[in-house]
Symmetry: D3
Subunit: 304 residues, 6 copies
């Protein structure tokens, strides 16, 4: 419900901060560099080089819990890929998608002027946050570093939130900052994670990066990371780890299924069943159950 | 679910703090003074001089969002009329009504004695918070400065909350303090904004003002302000600004309607539409749409 | 959804008890000592000496509010039996049951070794939190001091939460620490109060007490206390106070009933009715109503 | 080090909030009303009615500790006269003096206009904080409610701080708000208690009361209260309690003297001496010591 | 400056919480149990079994920094022996001594009565905190769990602080709670670490343990731990780790000495010297310097 | 007092840069780009293009207060150049120097590997924080974004702090993170601003930028900014604003001088003198005084 005329005046945009030679493209990581920085990506890429986790894996990831991601990532050396402390728009709705990253910094008129000059030299006008939002793809999650800003730190109101929903096919939003129009946004069916809500429009900041590595809380987020959010928080999974995480989650799902079944029988104490049966016979029963169920799951998955 | 006998003993009441000559009426702003202090009020007044925003505008205000208020007030010099950080009882229900203000301060027996003496000299007994609550009118929102107090800072439990609901016709409650009986209150259909919840009854405070200017967070609230709360926070709108805010909101509603319609067509980027179309033809289309819809809205409104 | 193999390795258990002679049983308060420490308990006891508030009183306690407990306990000298500041899993569902207490402390390998040696000398293995959870009884509420720990402070994930639900017949959980698997837990019908949520499993702590007095926030909780939680917080009621609290609550319920009825009539101000009628005739009307209704309530209760 | 031209423009002043009839003097509690509100004051008064604790008692109060005030006030019903959480400018220097109170509220242009009109009708100009500061007397402590405001909440910079020091003869400052120019202020020898420091000048607030009852943290401060601050926090002592507090402190000083002497002898455990000797002979020894020393102290005091 | 008569009435004492059979000594870990729990202690013990780190090592520990302790403990599995977030009384004075531990819990009259009965059955009176303070030895540091309590959580005022200083020979105080009489305490030459300061005396708590394992922040503290505090925080070093920590610190001191010497020469970059020289010749020079200096240090130490 | 062998293992370095084409130099803003981004710099530059505010202006800036900077910068559009909330090492010592910036981000092994590969392709080894510290120049202030990290966020201990002091000629340190070895650092004469202190060495982070624009709190800091810190906080002044700020500060100093002189005369109220004299004659007196003193100051300055 943003008033149509105020944004352009209120927001200070167009600035670039990052140490790129002036002949380089200003806001995006060039394709070659993107490929080098995400060299371990096992999947296809978008035209700009951003890793593209396949749609099928995105679908499978809807069944993931944060705990299942935790089981794999720290062992692989990724100890800081989880962020929480967000207000969550629709806690019942899982967030899954590919990270599309934006970085903002506090505004400075000298930098703003320098960068506008560079933009104009390339024949482009001043940059707005819509410029970045126009680049979103289906399956994307918009991930924004607004350094926790509340007042003047609202990345979208309900109009742009609606647009992001349309453009990403309800992919989602994670912002280390705020949103406006909570009443309006609440009626739109897209998962969103934000720090706070404020009636002010975005202002006194500069857009300084599109699809560059950014920081959200204690996490370095890369463009193309698989973003998975539940009602606890958000995991940013490097593309090369996605397959392992999902396969291991299948096992955990079966383990949970079997454990609850056993608890329901009422014959076992928790220490006899959880985390792994103490009785060798039970252990074998579980191993056979696991094998059978994993096969069923894979068969069912392949048949789709 | 307050135990019937404890409140009277537990609460220290009856005190007045504000610098009024002893011959003046003790707790309320005298009618003349109220009129002077709210000289810009364009509407009728209650018998005590408090501005009375018309019922029809209160109804229209149910469609307001915090952002739409923000669009007008700071431009008019009202930069500090928004308060948030509340727990909200029924986030789905909009709060709208006229401010009825109460002020409490920490208890001091010497002041309490002095003020009780003044009350008795006027033939009135000690003052309780019920004394003030008895004065509520339909359409009022009870706005209370309890300086953020949690323990012993509970303005109402479920019995008095029920009474306030009846008296104000579900107007509402905003308290910079706490409430009791959250389970009981949750079943009553009236919007409420509070800082916290505690099982203790109100105590160790003095009622020091009825319908005087008070402070809620960073806002100076005047009796008669239009109180508008959504799931983000609460705006206190001076009566003389209400009409402008509402008229501008009509335009914003139409703008949102049109913007979403255009996004739904799927032919435009967000930067081509939001906040104002870049293409002159689209701009004209929007202007015509706006004009037509505003007329429809006004016609529909007038027909009621 | 805990991965089956990680817990045993991640958690440091086997723990340290409080200063008991080495010939004493390590983790539980011996029956005699339990009886001495809870000497005022008027009810039966579990085999280990823990007071057993009768099932019928537990049922009656489902109608209690925190305010009704507050009315009695401070007067009896129990000024610190209320804890709040929790995240509440199912705010609509009342928590009622008998306290089963656990205490954890930060891990130290030297103490861990000393206590494991003691355990082995008694022919018992290392201790896990499941060891304690296996001891839960129907009607119990698991109350855990994990000193507010978030990361590595998760007492249960969804598997063990499910087991606790089964074992206690949906008794409940209060933990001054965290839980995992919030998505999974949310689907299980048992009330739970916790400080935070984290994807990590429990770790870097020692289990140091089972059914000993523990501290939750500002409350000393005794095994066998009646635990009552609503959407505000949790009260820990000593067994000897339970009957008084419940009887007084009956009166309050009738008082609320009558008060609302009077408010509904619309003929009285709040100050004439609340907390006790000012008019002698009304007062008498209330007294008669109270007497009649209390008799009805008791009759109905006895008939069950 | 305030730049000479910016303050007038930046600060919104001149407003009055409190519910006084327009014919009354605007910002100060009229003398009669002041006398009624502080009816228990046993001392002389300033011309405006403000209680004037005698200089001799102010001098004696330099030896007070917060604990000694605590010993008396709660017993007399004053349970909320202590405020802490301040940054303290010169922790080694005791703060003692008579409260001179100011109240600010968030600015609103409509009130500001109404009050300016009232001022002009009385032939007075707009009001600045200097207007109030000009009224300070030797021995005063300036006590200011700026509702904890940091940015734009700086009551003084080093120039006005210097002036306050001169005017109050180093009386002191307590502000629930901020100050500017910490480097400059640090060189001036006057005790000061503030919440924070900021480079901005005061702004976006209205001066709404001079020598009215105000709130500092959880304390209601009355003009004329004896303000006593040490490196812990600040006590606001009602004039009628000052004598008792000081007399009791004499006893405590002697008690401390004797207790340390006994500890120095090295023959007694702490439980035999503190808080009161257990041995009847020691008790008598103490009583005699106390009597003798109190006489000496009073004699010495009278001889001055 | 505690008033002599108030403490006994205000404090609720005498209670014991921990699960010991009633025939056991109530508040202290029995000697045998203490020896089992601290089985790895390589040093002598106090008569009650508490490890006694030798005076000579305490002296050496005055040169330790928190970083030097960090270098050893986590490697040995002690990952949680550091606590910070304290206000520090004399930041320039190192804290070193043997832990003497106290535990308090929130008061409950039923437990208090039960434990007083047990004490009386043993022919002992009610217990005060002085009872514990009387047991302090030279070289002790009093370490107290008061669960962060501020109001009513003051372990000592200046009189008892003075006594503790005398009894421990200026050993020191660490309290997860508050102190009173900061002005008075500031003049006494003993290091102290506390969370806050308040004018109230200790109250509404029970003394529940003397020389039992306690928790300070995230640390499990054992009686006899070597307590080392600097202007950052406090380390609690298990006795069996003390020698290693100190020997390694000698090396670090020499390393620092040499590193600064090299930096002073101005010929090397930081990366060539720190943490270890890159040039083999420099490396050798350092190794020889280290050997020589360590010998000097040991020789000098032995000669004392 | 860092142990010599641990740092290399503990820190994850080598890190990831912002989106630069792989043929560009990785960590520094190339000279041409630096010149474009700081195009308004009126002074000389370092060989890498970083603006070099002249030594003479640095000397003059030692007399600046935060307020004097505030007077100029917001008017010029620089509304966000001030950061506070630091612990300050030597509050009595002014911080002044040229910003040398570092940026760290949370570690990710995939990015670390990618960037190490790039470094090796250029014939350079892994990067440490010493690599950056080796580049410091006399007059520099090391400004580090460690995103507020406490544990594992310690940019330096006392050895490297000593080196920075030597290399910058006591220029200074500002870190949005922590330091180690506070005891050791306290003895070194260089101003430092940090968020916290911890015994851990730096770890689990990547160095991601040297002399790029970084964010400290709400400020975008550019390499070459003039850093001015007092006991309140830190201002980052763009080079092109330095001269104006200093000239205006001269006027303020004279104004303060004159104001205090007038207050000392005791004949004027604060409102007659501050911020600007109301009496035309006084005004003229001040203008003449100002003119004369400014001339004296300039003459004295030129004579050096």
């Amino acid at each position: 419900m943003k008033n149509p005329a105020t944004l352009a005046a209120a927001v200070c945009l167009g600035a670039l901060m990052t140490p790129v030679p002036s002949q380089a493209q200003l806001f995006t990581t060039p394709r070659e560099q993107m490929i080098e920085l995400t060299a371990q990506n096992p999947f296809e890429r978008f035209p700009d080089g951003r890793p593209k986790v396949p749609d099928a894996l995105i679908e499978r990831a809807r069944g993931l819990s944060a705990e299942e991601v935790w089981t794999i990532l720290p062992k692989e050396g990724f100890r800081s890929q989880y962020a929480d402390g967000f207000r969550i728009l629709h806690p019942d709705r899982k967030l899954v998608g590919r990270a599309f990253t934006l970085q903002f910094m506090p505004a400075r008129p000298d930098l703003d002027a320098a960068l506008s000059a560079q933009q104009q030299a390339k024949g482009q006008g001043r940059l707005y946050n819509q410029y970045a939002i126009d680049m979103l793809q289906p399956g994307d999650v918009l991930v924004v570093d607004l350094f926790g800003k509340k007042v003047d730190g609202t990345i979208v109101g309900d109009n742009l939130f609606y647009y992001v929903m349309k453009a990403t096919h309800s992919g989602g939003l994670v912002v280390d900052g705020s949103v406006r129009d909570l009443d309006g946004i609440s009626e739109i069916d897209m998962p969103a994670y934000f720090r706070s809500v404020d009636p002010t429009p975005i202002g006194n900041v500069m857009l300084t990066g599109i699809n560059i590595p950014i920081r959200i809380g204690g996490v370095t987020v890369m463009p193309g990371d698989l973003v998975v959010g539940d009602r606890e928080g958000v995991y940013f999974i490097p593309p090369q780890e996605v397959k392992d995480v999902l396969d291991r989650a299948d096992e955990t799902h079966v383990h949970d299924e079997w454990t609850k079944k056993k608890f329901d029988e009422g014959r076992y104490k928790s220490s006899e069943i959880y985390g792994s049966p103490t009785d060798p016979k039970l252990k074998q029963e579980y191993q056979e159950y696991l094998k059978k169920r994993l096969e069923e799951i894979r068969r069912k998955r392949d048949s789709h």
